[in-house]
Amino acid sequence: MRTKFGVLVAAFGLVCVVAPAIAHHGFDTEYDANKKFKHEGVVKAVLWTNPHMRVHVDVSEAGKTVTYNMEITSPNSVQRQGWGRNSLLPGEKVVFEGYAGKVDETRGSLLSIAKADAPDKPLFVQGGPEAAQQGFPGAR
């Protein structure tokens, strides 16, 4: 119930937000726009930490488990858009897209993440390199 309300608030917030989707300032310094990927996996951890939250997702690849360390925006930003403690939890099956790190390809900038049983309804969408090209002043 609380999550649903949070989503409702977010739905309203979405309409009224003027500050555009944040270009990930510094995206080009760490991540490669040509290395876009999409995976399905199980959330291992959701780190409510600054300056960027991280979602660790376990993905089965060729019989092994690879833990992806996906970077989002800050806890403050997601809270302002309606996220709460229970918005995304360890153990949940998710489908996610992102851009891999230039050196460490198990790290990525998260583009979107959705629960596996509702892939068309992402919990999170973040401007990637496309947004950066719009010349938005940038974010961290």
Partner: protein, 276 residues
Amino acid sequence: MKKFFAVFIILAGVSLGYFAHLQAQGAVQQIQVGGSPVVPDNLVTSQPVPRLPDGTVDLTGPWVGGGSNGNIERDGGLKAGELPLLPWAKELMSKRQEKDEPYTACLPMSVPRVNPYPWKFALSYTAKGLSHIYVLHETGDAGAHRVVYMDGRKHPDDPIPTWWGHSIGRFEKDTLVIDTVGYNDKFWFDSRGTPHTEQLHTVERWTRINWGRITNDFLLDDPGAFSKPVNLKFTGRLLRPDLKTGGGELMEFICLEGNEYGAAAGFVPGQGTSIK
């Protein structure tokens, strides 16, 4: 109580109806995150500019924006290349790399830098009246706070350079004028690495042009790095006050607690703190 319940039911109905509408359109429950929600353009005059009981204009905010971030020329209303940088400063700038900017190591943003997180003017009073204005940035203070002395004092003759400098302020009618010297040269004006020297002198003129917007007419005067003073103009937008969580307030942000910037590309942040 009945009235409240009725209103609640109506609001719930409207909310659910709108939500269903979004669902029906195939619109997703996506949350475009990053940055801070602001009062939209069509609501900036929906309320009057607030004033303190003594008539002073209330500049508190919190505000989002109002300075430079990615590109001080673009952000401040100049054409590309219009900043009159001296040759040595242009050369330094060309060598700087975005990945090295001090801000990424959780060091202060300083002036006129902002990021998409809110900040506010916090007025501080003693028995003698308005003595200080603190500029509180949600993320870019690095544990310090910017102090503007409002008691009429002058700048010290030879200040030790600091990240935020020495600021003295006064009101000229409804405009807050902040005059600052004593900056160090360690911060960057933008993520491109626009440099400055310890000779930097800035004058900000903050005017709340309506409920939802504040302008910063900014004078950049640094004969050490620029061939002449430059005027820039920035606009800050009021943080939306009506969201359930964090609405209208600054939130805690401990930058150093989990800064993994650079790990994905094999570098360490903040290598550009020195001009050398």
